[in-house]
């Protein structure tokens, strides 16, 4: 069904179910309990995880399959955001045209940048994409201010034409919606001391990300995906067989640019304000971190990485000294203070330090990311009884 094998189909269904149930699953701790701060089931965070999952999955199509490391993908996020906000301003507060335009614009710019950058490979490619992204960032910040809003960012305003929408009578900016369903609409369910929030915006992001995940899955299993893997494996040999690999590379680049454009459009749809800092190289670095952390070239890796980083970013930044003291209060006073002093630089403001350390550890010891880590642990568990049997067998021989 859906052009997938049985295994992939189950996999996709599980992902779909997890996405649908996320508001419940991510809210395991009761309201007001000490652990409540570890809940992730609020719309803002879930939306961000879903959006960055789209971005990372798209980036993985380029980096994971072809091995070309782009350091400029944030540019497409920014372009998608601007496209979205302009649609909200000019056409309608319905997000659909904006999303379509954001995706197309992401693809168009990717075509332009990819056409130039893909003439080179390796580090030259990374630098070229970085140069293009920084160029877009600098231009959005300075010359293009009439289009991008410059430092203030771009957002819908009262005086915008919005030709498809009826004029708002009460003089407020209408809410961002999808065919009348407001993105802010949230149904709250109070159950067993927990407040589950089912947010329309999250479900739009989540379902779209599942759909994009499905497309990526198809792409991974297709002959086209095979060709991209061949490029990563040995581009020279591929060229010797008389095959022109650049069109394949360019298509991969454009596809990942469209993913990024869509992610940028969604970002602007959930929070209708687009700023140039989304295009900075730090943002490009972030998506690289996500993909590496999760597992390059795997299906689920980028999603895991995006979820992990966004979750930790939110949670770690919230922990302060007070919380730490509470945690370590079971130890003697001197040990408590010592532990707090040690942990303090890594939480709150210092979350990036944790991220950097984690990232280095993953690159050094676990080049396959979280997915490989999981596989290793799985193998370890499965081998245990086996190893015992072996040990028993060899003991008499000694």
């Amino acid at each position: 069904m859906l052009g997938l094998g049985k295994k992939d189909l189950t996999f996709l269904l599980i992902v779909l179910l997890l996405t649908l149930a996320a508001p419940i699953l991510l809210n395991p701790f009761a309201e007001g309990s000490a652990m409540a701060q570890f809940n992730a089931g609020y719309p803002d965070l879930m939306q961000r995880i879903a959006i960055f999952a789209i971005f990372a999955v798209g980036f993985n199509i380029l980096f994971g399959l072809t091995g070309y490391l782009s350091f400029g993908h944030a540019a497409f996020i920014g372009i998608g955001s601007y496209a979205m906000v302009w649609m909200l301003k000019l056409l309608t507060m319905n997000i659909l045209p904006g999303l379509i335009l954001a995706t197309l614009m992401g693809g168009a710019f990717a075509l332009l940048i990819g056409f130039v950058s893909l003439r080179r490979s390796g580090i030259y490619f990374s630098i070229l994409t970085l140069a293009f992204a920084q160029m877009s960032f600098n231009m959005a910040y300075s010359v293009l201010t009439p289009i991008t809003g410059g430092e203030n960012g771009l957002g819908p305003a009262l005086g915008d034409p919005r030709v498809l929408d009826a004029a708002a009578a009460n003089g407020t900016i209408p809410e961002v919606n999808l065919f009348g369903l407001s993105m802010r609409a949230t149904y709250e369910l109070d159950l067993a001391g927990r407040v589950f929030q089912f947010n329309a915006g999250y479900y739009v992001c989540g379902l779209l990300s599942v759909f994009m995940f499905y497309l990526a899955l198809r792409l991974f299993r297709s002959p086209f995906g095979m060709m991209l893997r061949a490029i990563k494996c040995n581009q020279h040999r591929l060229n010797y067989t008389g095959l022109h690999s650049r069109p394949y590379m360019l298509s991969a680049f454009v596809i990942s640019g469209m993913y990024a454009g869509l992610a940028g459009g969604l970002m602007a749809a959930m929070d209708p304000l687009a700023g140039a800092d989304r295009m900075q190289w730090q943002a490009s670095g972030e998506v690289v971190l996500m993909v590496i952390l999760g597992g390059v070239g795997t299906m689920l890796g980028p999603v895991l990485g995006a979820g992990f980083i966004k979750y930790c970013e939110n949670i770690f930044s919230k922990i302060n000294d007070h919380v730490l003291h509470e945690w370590f209060s079971i130890f003697p006073k001197w040990l408590e203070n010592l532990l707090v002093t040690i942990v303090h630089p890594f939480v709150g403001q210092g979350w990036h330090l944790t991220l950097g350390v984690l990232f280095m550890l993953v690159v050094i010891f676990l080049p396959g990311g979280l997915i490989e880590g999981g596989q290793r642990i799985g193998r370890l568990i499965r081998r245990k009884p086996d190893a015992k049997g072996k040990a028993a067998a060899t003991t008499p021989a000694e």
Partner: protein
Amino acid sequence: MDALILQTLNGLDKGSAYALIALGLTLIFGTLGVVNFAHGTLFMIGAFCAVTLQRLLSLSQVTIDPTKKDFLGNALKVKTPYIEAWFGKDAGAAIVNWSVPLSILLAIPVMLVVGFVMERGLIKHFYKRPHADQILVTFGLAIVLQEVIKYYFGANPIPTAAPTDFAGSIDFGVWMGFPPNDIIYPYWRMVYFLFSVVVIGAVFAFLQFTTFGMVVRAGMADRETVGLLGINIDRRFTIMFGIAAVVAGTAGAMYTPINSPAFTMGMNFLVLSFVVVVVGGMGSLPGAVLSGFLLGILESYASMNWIKDVIPGIDQIIIYVIAIIVLLTRPRGLMGRKGVMED
């Protein structure tokens, strides 16, 4: 004409910084074959050496001076830097005043240690890994170092003054026959340019005229053969990594009066320095220096008003535009060698 000279001069100091960082990057790449994304951070650590030294030197002891009263009528507390107490008032004040140039003395050992630890502890294990892995692990290291500095020094730029002897500006135009006040150039930028010329000259002389440098150059050309001749090339390359770190660190320390050091400065310079290295040609030392100065000066030209009127915003993007043009027309960069990074 005078505007052109002024912009050339303005471009020189930024160009010097680009050239120094790019030189270090190229040294590391040429010897170890490692793409070091943490090199900008070394520049930043050097800058914070200057901040540290200035803070150390201005550590003060508090004494109570009973002869004077503060506005509440209590005995006045007087702060005297220890350094003034030890070396006498004038000499002490002079040392505090000269803390930025003196910080080179601090930066050299610190950077050597940082460089050695980095190379032996981390980068050694990445010789054989793909370039993407090298980029990623050094990128992670850059984040970590940056955050550590931010933790200890805060996120705000810390103004660090040059010695008062260099505080003013030089009326450069008068020397060349222009009317006074036409071309004015701050003394310290002049010092920085001269400093970078000396450092670059020293590095080249070291590579060209010493036996050690000769071995290193041989190793850059063919590492395996040099190793087979019984020379411990790895140790020499590690030393070169230390030297590259020192070049970046001292460049950062001397740059502090021009641009107040903040924890982000390393990464900001790194992105541009990489562009510089690639434009100059990966692995070519003269190329790195040449393109560093070239891009610095061109960036400064592009910020002239009449050029900005013709092409708005060109000052923001000129470096990237040049990089794109160069890479597409001369794929190896301006002076790149054949066979470097061409996989």
